[in-house]
């Protein structure tokens, strides 16, 4: 489903070139549950941005859903993001003036989906997140864990097949972080492909596949059976 071959992403800072992704080749299957770990600056976020079509590799090939993304224009990349990819960020990135329900419905609104269908789907998502009674609260009236759950709701409201989470528990305490991980694992059980970048060993260990990055390269890539 996802195939990267010799993907290179360089950043030029001053007269130095940083190889944020250094000839990365890796493939992911539909329904995978992958954790990406590694030291800070090793290229984890860059990998996620490339996978999510937010960033373009300097060279190499990236096939998503059997489609070479190199040739796609910005509009087409945006359309793919809109329909198939959900993002969860460490900093939540909720829109502070909108309620929880409106934040969750935002992708649908931007996509021009009619209000009735929107309302129905948002109600469904709120219930699944256990946030029904927080629907009309604004982000500043919610706890960190609740905010991240709203952000996850926003990420899945369009029913994407790929969920990319960059340090989703980074701003949360242990308990709230645990709840968030359980939530995204449930989504993975329902079939979504889940790739989580994390610093937290506990969180990373729960994935079925562990990818470790060092200096822009895949250092280790192991499968783990859970019982």
């Amino acid at each position: 489903m996802i195939v990267l071959e010799d993907v290179e992403r360089d950043f030029v800072v001053g007269d130095e070139t940083v190889h944020a992704l250094d000839q990365v080749s890796i493939a992911f299957e539909a329904g995978d549950y992958v954790s990406v770990m590694g030291p800070s600056g090793s290229g984890k976020s860059t990998l996620l941005n490339v996978l999510g079509l937010l960033d373009r590799p300097n060279s190499g090939s990236y096939r998503l859903f059997d489609q070479e993304t190199r040739e796609l224009g910005e509009e087409q990349r945006a359309a793919l993001r809109r329909r198939h990819i959900g993002f969860v960020f460490q900093a939540f990135h909720l829109v502070s003036r909108l309620t929880a329900a409106d934040n969750i419905g935002l992708p649908m609104m931007l996509a021009g989906i009619e209000p009735r269908a929107r309302h129905q789907r948002v109600t469904e998502v709120l219930a699944a997140l256990g946030l029904t009674d927080r629907a009309q609260h604004r982000p500043d009236q919610l706890s960190g864990g609740q905010r991240q759950r709203v952000a996850i709701g926003r990420a899945i409201v369009m029913r994407p097949s790929l969920l990319l989470a960059d340090e989703p528990t980074g701003n949360l305490d242990q308990h709230a972080g645990g709840e968030v991980v359980e939530l995204i694992e449930r989504l993975n059980n329902d079939g979504i492909t889940l790739i989580v970048v994390t610093h937290d060993k506990e969180v990373g260990r729960r994935a079925r596949r562990h990818v470790r990055m060092v200096d822009g390269r895949i250092d280790r890539d192991t499968l783990h059976a859970h019982d």
């Binding site: 809109r82 993002f87 829109v95 502070s96 003036r97 609104m109």
Partner: protein, 401 residues
């Protein structure tokens, strides 16, 4: 994105930044209100002048010696002096069927005295017809008698101001005043507030035209007022007068005849131009408001970088981000324009209360024009910030780099 959602979303983000929004609304509404108010004042002035002309009657012609190329223009002040316009010329005009009355005029300045009081005033040599033609009425006594215009009778009608200056509380009728070295018996006083286009009739004295010619030692006339039979006869009267004078002046067409209409048209043109000019100057404040909108929208874009990055991550194409910010700028401009129209209309109502005799009213084009200009300003000055938002790189925007 659906239009209602777009408007709602933009409205919410404007409401979210209240201080910024109020500031821009204020700037925009001041611009629009000043366009509406200033053009209303200009239009009021135009209507005021038109009303004044209408009250004088529209079938009056003014003949003066000398040929001026443009009708309605000022009479030639310099240049070769043409043949004089004489009393006989003026009286000959009455032969035209389209002309009902003429008033030959001689105008000059002279000292007028009674006892030891003296005033330097405008002396108007005229005939009886002058009074009804200029809508002048006497407060006491009577107007000039209907005598042979060639007779230099020693009678005078005083302006109210002159009467007061010379006689104070005493009775003027029947007294003799001295004009230069001649004596005239006062037979009437003109009602107060007599006003005829910049010419204050308060401080003047009217004497028979022949007497004025003797006084100023001239056979020439300053002006001849001509009254056409009706409004429809104005053009015919003008042509007839010209032909008659030409015949009498050996075929030389050497007089200028202007109609009230032409004068009115000139005033109308001037005041209309002034209204446009004033409206244009006020529109500059709309431009200032536009620049303010641009700056504040730029600040808004930089404060909402993360939100823009998020929209892009959610798959919003660049042109839609552009549209969202443009709609915000236009909403602001339109709302500001709406408030401005209300404030301007309120100001017009207030002026109408304060100055009931001055017909203040915004010209029909002012309101739609200022609203359209305001919205276009929003569009124009909103484009730069919106483009900046649309071109943001989502990764950078989300990382806050």
């Amino acid at each position: 994105m659906r239009t209602t959602d777009l408007l709602l979303f933009s409205g919410q983000s404007l409401a979210g930044a209240r201080k910024r929004t109020l500031l821009m609304l204020l700037a925009m509404s001041i611009g629009v209100a000043s366009v509406v108010l200033l053009t209303a004042l200009g239009e009021g002035a135009r209507r005021y002048v038109a009303d004044q002309f209408a009250s004088l009657g529209t079938h009056l012609l003014i003949m003066m010696p000398g040929r001026s190329e443009t009708t309605g223009g000022a009479p030639p002040l310099f240049g070769e002096t043409p043949r004089d316009l004489t009393l006989d010329d003026a009286l000959a005009l009455l032969r035209a069927r389209s002309i009902t009355r003429v008033a030959p005029l001689v105008v000059g300045n002279a000292p007028v005295s009674y006892g030891n009081r003296e005033r330097e005033v405008t002396v108007i040599g005229a005939t009886q017809a002058y009074f009804p033609m200029r809508h002048l009425s006497t407060a006491s006594g009577r107007a000039l008698p209907d005598i042979d215009p060639a007779r230099a009778a020693n009678v005078a009608v005083l302006g109210a101001g002159l009467r007061k200056a010379l006689f104070g509380g005493h009775r003027a009728i029947g007294q003799w005043v001295r004009v230069d070295d001649r004596r005239f018996r006062v037979i009437g006083v003109i009602g107060k507030g007599g006003q005829s286009f910049g010419q204050n009739l308060d401080d003047m004295i009217v004497i028979p035209v022949a007497a004025a010619q003797e006084l100023f030692d001239t056979t020439s006339l300053f002006r001849v007022l001509i009254e056409a039979r009706s409004e429809h006869h104005v053009e015919r009267a003008k042509a007839a007068a010209r032909t008659l004078i030409q015949q009498r002046h050996d075929g030389e067409d050497d007089v200028t005849i202007i109609s009230q209409d032409a004068l009115l048209q000139t005033f109308d043109d001037i005041l209309r131009t002034m209204t446009y000019a004033v409206g244009g100057i006020a529109a500059i404040s709309l431009g200032v408001a536009g620049i303010l909108i641009m700056n504040v929208m730029l600040v808004a874009v930089s404060q909402r970088v993360a939100e823009i990055g998020l929209m892009k991550a959610l798959g919003t194409p660049a042109r839609q981000v552009l549209r969202i910010f443009l709609v915000e700028a236009m909403l602001l401009a339109a709302a500001g324009a709406g408030i401005g129209v209300l404030v301007g209309s309120g100001g017009i109502l207030a002026m109408q209360q304060l100055l009931p005799e001055f017909p203040v009213a915004a010209p029909l084009w002012a309101v739609p024009a200022s609203v359209v200009v305001a919205v276009l300003t929003g569009l124009l000055f909103g484009t730069l910030p919106a483009r900046r938002a649309a071109l943001l790189d989502p990764v950078q925007a989300l990382s806050g780099r």
